[in-house]
């Protein structure tokens, strides 16, 4: 029975590259969506139509694991990688994507320090147009503003983003192990 070569090859370069590439893509798409939301007219909804753009960010961010495993197989894995290692590489790639995105956001804060506050104000303008009772509207405004300002903390961003990006990329990492191995990753079937 064929066995996938499980010698310990270094997967960190693949994780780092996936984090850099997909983290940067995620940052650029999110930045575009943020400025589009800031410059849009109030809609009477908490959500701007431009949030659809952030769907693309998710789509991009979730494939870091797949890319990391592909890179690992091409350069280190000698034709194959087990599903378990694919999952591990994927999870680390997801964490790396998140960290790169957060760090780039922090750098952008230095370039445009008022962007986040303008985004909060844009959200508040949208909420003020909503057709809701006064006290309920004010509660939503206060909650949204507080939440958005709390999320600007670098540790909060990492805390809330790493679990889901990690899990998604863990799954796409496993898909990558299954797809890019030239031999069957004999991890699931005897």
């Amino acid at each position: 029975m064929n066995q996938v070569n499980n010698q310990e090859h270094n997967y960190w370069p693949s994780v780092g590259l996936a984090g850099a590439v997909f983290g940067m893509l995620l940052f650029v798409i999110s930045l575009f969506g943020s400025y589009a939301a800031i410059n849009s007219e109030p809609t009477g909804s908490y959500f701007s139509p431009y949030q659809i753009i952030w769907t693309l960010a998710c789509f991009v961010g979730a494939f870091g694991g797949l890319f990391a495993v592909w890179h690992y197989v091409q350069h280190e894995g000698q034709g194959g990688v087990t599903l378990g290692k694919g999952a591990l590489i994927g999870f680390f790639a997801g964490a790396a994507v998140t960290i790169v995105n957060v760090l780039l956001s922090e750098v952008w804060q230095g370039i445009d320090p008022e962007m986040n506050e303008r985004l909060v104000e844009s959200t508040i303008r949208n909420l003020e147009e909503m057709d809701l009772p006064g006290d309920q509207k004010q509660m939503m405004i206060d909650s949204a503003a507080e939440g958005m300002r709390e999320d600007q903390n670098i540790f909060a961003q990492i805390f809330w983003s790493v679990p889901m990006y990690g899990i998604l990329n863990l799954l796409t990492g496993m898909i990558g192990a299954k797809s890019f191995s030239s031999r069957e990753p004999e991890d699931t079937v005897e």
Binding site: S30, L83, A144, R183, E186
Partner: protein, 147 residues
């Protein structure tokens, strides 16, 4: 025939079920906090647009993800459970799930672009169904016989 690595299968099963339960949002647990600030919404904030009009509602609150994402996560969970059964009773299936995944992703992208351009209007159910197709085929990829 049995699962060689039951721990890996079980870990993925637990993770995807946790994702699905989280994606259901605070309505299932009757949480009182404004839904936009519930922990479920905050976890998925970077992953989904979470627009309420494009999400299912449970108990008066929108899910933490849109209907398409709900389909993807739900489909993967269903597929993963089905995968365990399939691999337990027989060898891998000679079905090209890799091509099926690419096809379902392509159809979803087409649906997204067509709706954005105003060519057609998709619905909660159609987006859920298309998302389900991605999730199911992604999970069942692991049942594909490479040879």
């Amino acid at each position: 025939m049995k699962l060689l690595k039951p721990k890996l299968y079980s870990l993925i099963l637990v993770l995807i079920l946790a994702v699905v339960v989280t994606a259901l949002g605070g309505g299932v647990f009757n949480q009182q906090l404004v839904w936009v600030e519930q922990w479920q919404h905050r976890l998925f904030r970077g992953l989904c647009h979470q627009i309420p009009d494009r999400s299912f509602w449970i108990n008066g609150q929108p899910m933490a993800v849109c209907s398409r994402c709900a389909g993807i996560y739900g489909g993967f969970a269903i597929g993963w459970v089905f995968l365990g059964i399939v691999l337990y009773v027989k060898k891998r299936m000679a079905i090209p799930f890799k091509r099926i995944i690419l096809l379902t992703i392509g159809i979803n992208l087409l649906d997204f672009v067509g709706n954005m351009l105003g060519l057609w209007e998709n619905t909660l159910a159609s987006r859920f169904g298309l998302g389900l197709s991605i999730g199911l085929s992604a999970a069942l990829l692991f049942a594909e016989n490479k040879s």
